[in-house]
């Protein structure tokens, strides 16, 4: 690490000048090397997005309308906002807190095991869909091994109203990819906290509590917050796992959209699907906006 730092200081200062041979002349000309990227993004990202937004404002006979959006907030569709947002929020909070606790243990292990854990976390963070659903059915389903083992120990998970296909069940399943994602992203942030700071705080007479409140929390807060919001977005948009788990019994926004556009539930409701999709983007954008605002008012940068 120290070598990298030394190298950085050796790098000549940046500025418009020394690199003029790459970005000769005007502002517009300096965009030229970015053209492939911008063209790609424009065609494969911006172009589809404009179509969703356009279609969200069209009626079935192709006229401008706001009815699709009005419909969005009614009945099961309106309900799905609450369910999706609540589920994503709880799953993000659980994932972030559990992940941070695990990361604070992981960061103390040796380089090799940390590397292995990071690799494992990256695999688990990417699980989802049918494979994940089956693992939980096998483990925590009514006939699952964990359920049976717990029953043998005297605790019946299913004594109450719990099922894996309920909101609580889905949250449990989402933990399987949310927690590893948090560990994966939050461990490097913890690694940046130098043990010297703890020693400096101790030598100045600061106790464990004041170290925690005055140093760790302000330093880690931006990273914690940004990762938590990433987890929120992650579960908010999760479709494969939700579809595999609930087959439509739980009103989650991605599932409703999927049903609407696949047309196998209700015909001629595609534009409602587009409006829901726009609403989902809106929710994500609001979350991102909150994050940027909070970041602006906190001292440290992630």
């Amino acid at each position: 690490m120290s070598q990298v730092v030394a190298q950085r200081t050796g790098t000549p200062k940046k500025g418009a000048g020394p690199l003029a041979y790459l970005s000769r002349g005007s502002t517009l000309k300096s965009l030229v090397p970015l053209m492939p990227f911008l063209a790609f993004v424009a065609y494969f990202l911006v172009f589809p997005l404009t179509f969703i937004i356009r279609d969200a404002f069209l009626s079935n006979d192709g006229k401008f309308t706001l009815d699709n959006f009005a419909e969005c907030f009614k009945g099961v569709y309106g309900h799905s906002f609450a369910v999706s947002i609540r589920l994503s929020f709880i799953s993000a909070m659980i994932g972030a807190i559990a992940g941070a606790i695990i990361a604070s243990a992981v960061v103390k292990t040796g380089t090799r095991s940390r590397r292995a854990i990071a690799a494992t976390a990256s695999v688990f963070a990417n699980t989802g869909g049918v494979p994940l659903a089956f693992m939980f059915l096998a483990g925590f389903g009514t006939e699952g091994l964990v359920t049976k083992a717990l029953k043998a120990l005297g605790w019946n998970m299913y004594s109450g109203s719990f099922t894996l296909f309920s909101e609580t069940g889905i949250i449990l399943v989402y933990c399987f990819f949310q927690i590893p994602l948090m560990v994966l992203i939050f461990t490097p942030a913890l690694e940046n906290i130098k043990p010297e700071w703890r020693e400096a705080s101790d030598s100045l007479g600061g106790g464990r509590f004041s170290y925690f409140t005055r140093i760790s929390v302000p330093l880690l807060f931006p990273a914690f917050l940004s990762t938590t919001l990433l987890l929120f977005a992650n579960s908010f948009s999760a479709y494969a796992t939700a579809r595999a788990m609930t087959s439509g019994t739980l009103p989650l926004m991605p599932l409703l959209i999927g049903n609407l556009v696949d047309g196998n539930v209700l015909a001629n409701q595609e534009h409602l699907g587009h409006a829901m999709a726009v609403c989902m983007i809106g929710v994500s954008a609001i979350v991102m906006g909150i994050y940027l605002l909070v970041l602006k008012f906190s001292k440290a940068k992630p």
Partner: protein
């Protein structure tokens, strides 16, 4: 960096391990069940390998992954390198663009693609690769950005230019080898995403490995579980072995810089 773990730390690691390992073990046990659970064997696995769809769909997914990886490299490496050199003034704008896919849920994105893309693109499964490049943008950009920040890029580029190399030669001979581990990271991300992606594939009506698993699960549940266990453990083994392999097998010191 190694520090003493407290009992609470051990407890956290133990709890985490159990939470992740038990469902896996349970799924594995299920996948071994034959004769309606009366005995255990590898029949479910054997059945999977005998299916025509296994090979073809796995093939499709691997080809998609390969194309995605190549597209990520060709598109992103020159772009991010340029942002670190002369194009610094556009860095914030590009960073922002690369975060947009995080804000757009994949399901919303899939709808737009369905209506926006012309027929010629929608007629090939490889359209998915271009979409996977978009979905993986936040991660691939970040990996390359971190990698390039950790090397004295400007000096290396100027040394190469002064030696007589063109920008293309500099990119291939100097920059890419120097940020090899960051490039690997970006490629791995893109490959992992392509191999596991379900939403776009299913909504655009393409058959890939993940959609095939979902398909056979209707009616062949134990085989689907076997396949799930197999793919997860397989991926895990590959990644962990690569992560803890002796240093000589991995790329050189930039690994430390970026990891």
């Amino acid at each position: 960096m190694k520090r003493k773990l407290t009992p609470a730390n051990y407890l956290a690691l133990l709890a985490a391990t159990s939470f992740f390992v038990f469902p896996l073990i349970a799924a594995f046990e299920f996948s071994l069940r034959v004769n309606l659970g009366k005995s255990h064997g590898f029949d479910n696995f054997r059945w999977v390998f005998q299916q025509e769809g296994f090979k073809t769909n796995l093939g499709v997914s691997f080809r998609l992954a390969l194309l995605t990886a190549v597209a990520v490299l060709v598109l992103m490496v020159p772009t991010v390198v340029y942002l670190h050199l002369g194009g610094g003034r556009w860095k914030r704008m590009i960073e922002f663009i690369c975060l947009v896919p995080l804000v757009v849920p994949v399901i919303s994105f899939a709808l737009g693609v369905g209506t926006a893309f012309p027929v010629f693109l929608q007629s090939t499964v490889y359209e998915l690769s271009f979409l996977y490049v978009i979905v993986s943008l936040p991660y691939t950009y970040r990996a390359l950005d971190v990698g390039l920040s950790s090397i004295p890029l400007l000096t290396l580029v100027e040394a190469s230019r002064a030696s007589g190399a063109s920008m293309r030669q500099t990119l291939l001979f100097v920059i890419v080898p120097t940020i090899r581990s960051a490039v690997n990271g970006a490629v791995f991300l893109a490959i992992a995403l392509s191999l596991g992606e379900f939403t776009l594939a299913v909504l655009l009506h393409w058959d890939t490995f993940p959609t095939w698993i979902a398909n056979i699960s209707q009616g062949h549940i134990l085989n689907a579980i076997a396949l799930s266990v197999l793919s997860l453990v397989g991926a895990w083994l590959v990644v962990v072995v690569m992560a803890i392999a002796p240093k000589s097998l991995r790329s050189n010191k930039t690994q430390e810089a970026t990891s």
